[in-house]
């Protein structure tokens, strides 16, 4: 796996203090959201444990000795939730969340595009071969967790581009 490319903000100390100026804060949070998503995407990470994440390089830059405080981590994650990129698995405690660096709709489109380009329309395949099969190793959705895949396929079903057959199979149109 290639080295993750940190954005310039990551080495800018004020990035780790939530800015009181609203305009500045908006830009700062935008940068944080992008960083969290691209970081998870780079690591193919589909969920996030808040306590672990706070100590991970994502929120803790050891080089400049700055760490995003916990309340700021929540500010960033809430911002992501508003955008539909994360979902709390425990909304009350907010310890763990699901990460969608692409929304289910976007995933659906990507999968459907791959299906079409491989001439698999009007065929049935299992969800396992779709995300774990040899044909999809080069695809972004390879190794996708099943909860997200199901949601992505559901969006396609709404558009009548696919039909779920039980929880294990799917037919594309």
């Amino acid at each position: 796996m290639a080295e993750f490319q940190w954005p310039w903000q990551y080495n800018f100390p004020p990035f780790f203090t939530i800015q009181p100026n609203k305009d500045t804060q908006a830009k700062q949070l935008e940068a944080w959201c992008l960083l969290v998503l691209s970081y998870c995407r780079h690591r193919r990470q589909y969920s996030l444990d808040v306590t672990d994440a706070q100590d991970s390089p994502l929120f803790h830059n050891k080089k400049i000795d700055r760490k995003l405080p916990l309340d700021a981590v929540y500010t960033v994650l809430e911002e992501l939730r508003k955008k539909g990129n994360i979902e709390w698995t425990d909304p009350k405690k907010r310890n763990r969340c699901l990460i969608m660096w692409r929304t289910p709709e976007e995933w659906g489109k990507i999968i459907y595009q791959w299906v079409t380009s491989n001439g698999m329309n009007n065929t049935v395949c299992t969800t396992y071969e779709l995300v774990n099969g040899d044909d999809t190793t080069s695809q972004e959705f390879h190794g996708m967790e099943s909860w997200l895949l199901t949601r992505a396929l559901q969006t396609l079903q709404l558009e009548r581009k696919a039909e779920l057959m039980g929880s294990e199979g799917v037919k594309f149109f």
Binding site: P7, P13, Q19, N21, T24, Q28
Partner: protein, 391 residues
């Protein structure tokens, strides 16, 4: 009350009149006496009371009998009183109005006021102890000799009272000596200001001839010192007119120094500076603040300004916020990042002002902060100037 003796009311040759007050009623301890309305006379040696109606009824109390005084303030339906605590009566005294009394103190009630002044004089006279210096009277001397060893170190409450009294007197004396110096200084202050002005003038005249740094610095000190005719309550009355004149004076005096220190000065600095310049006609903080509040109404070139944090400064009108923001941004950009302390060092104004300037600039979106345990550090706001994703 039994310490009083009858007298003819005439002063002894060595005795001086110190104070006089009419409308005095004497109480023997808490009890009433027939001496209800008379004139109280304080001399260097005695306290004399003369009845208003019967001029032959005159009482005297030697000051040497007095241990100490107490003041009781007037209340509803009560006159102010001085409580005079007394030594025990000497056995071989001349005849007095009362043969013997249980009380070791008397009270002087001031029906027609005047107690404060009288009390002050009374205390002074007691502290002076003039009666000791003129104890030429052989009888008294003998008496003093007899009382000597026991009198000097009397035990019990009276002894303690005496000791306390003595200590108080010493303190009094120290204070009055100290203030004597101060009043001397006040007298000289005017001359000093005058002198400094002459020197300043001389240096100004010989400007070409002076080159050394120190002399130039000295000159600037002198020039920044001294307001020739300070606006005072005496010259300009009280109230708004006074404050208006004061505001005008402030704008004249402060314009130059404000320009020198970057257009802004905290109110505390202004207060110190103005009062140093005024020499002896010191301003109260209240008057200064009131005068500053009028600056805007009078359309003067300086203004009072209060920051969100409550810090109050005086600044030049020309010194706009944009100017502050631009200058602060430039300084931070030059250094990469700055704390309030660092900025105050770089730009030589107070830390408090530096912080205000940084916060103002941050509010305008030109700086951003890095808040750590080491302190609050400000950086140029790259969030706004650099694209979120670098190309």
């Amino acid at each position: 009350m039994d310490r009083f003796v009858w007298t003819n009311g005439l002063l002894e040759p060595h005795e001086d009149l110190k104070a006089q007050q009419h409308g005095i009623k004497i109480y023997d301890g808490e009890d009433k006496t027939p001496f209800e309305y008379g004139t109280l006379i304080l001399t260097s040696h005695r306290l004399i009371w003369r009845d208003h109606k019967r001029s032959d009824c005159v009482l005297a109390l030697p000051l040497s009998q007095i241990v100490f005084l107490e003041e009781t303030e007037s209340g509803l339906g009560k006159s102010a009183k001085i409580v005079v605590h007394l030594n025990p009566a000497s056995p071989n005294r001349p005849p007095g109005p009362v043969a013997s009394s249980q009380n070791s103190y008397i009270r002087l009630s001031f029906k027609d006021a005047g107690e404060t002044e009288f009390h002050r004089r009374f205390t002074e006279e007691l502290a002076r102890r003039s009666w000791e210096m003129t104890q030429a009277d052989p009888a008294q001397q003998q008496q003093a000799a007899q009382a000597g060893p026991t009198g000097a170190r009397r035990a019990g409450i009276v002894g303690i009272e005496r000791k306390l009294e003595q200590k108080r007197k010493e303190t009094d004396q120290t204070i009055s000596v100290a203030f004597e110096d101060l009043s001397n200084l006040m007298e000289k202050a005017k001359d000093m200001v005058g002198l400094s002005k002459t020197i300043a003038q001389k240096i100004q005249d010989k400007q070409g001839a002076i080159s050394e740094d120190e002399t130039v610095q000295f000159k600037s000190y002198l020039l920044s010192l001294g307001i020739p005719n300070p606006v005072t309550r005496e010259t300009h009355g009280s109230g708004t007119n006074y404050h208006m004149q004061l505001a005008k004076e402030l704008s004249q005096v402060l314009q130059q120094p404000l320009q020198e220190c970057g257009g802004m000065m905290s109110l505390a600095d202004v207060y110190c500076r103005v009062n140093r310049a005024r020499g002896m006609e010191l301003l109260s903080p209240d008057d200064l603040l009131n005068a500053c509040k009028l600056l805007e109404a009078l359309n003067l070139p300086i203004r009072l300004r209060e920051f969100d944090s409550g810090v109050v400064v005086v600044q030049l009108v020309s010194h706009s916020e944009e100017e502050v923001v631009r200058e602060t941004t430039r300084l931070v950009e030059e250094s990469g990042s700055l704390t309030a302390e660092e900025l105050s060092r770089v730009a030589s104004f107070s830390v408090m002002l530096a912080k205000e300037k940084l916060l103002t600039t941050e509010k305008k979106g030109l700086l951003c902060r890095d808040d750590t345990v080491e302190g609050l550090r400000f950086y140029p706001n790259l969030f706004m100037t650099k694209p979120v994703i670098e190309a």
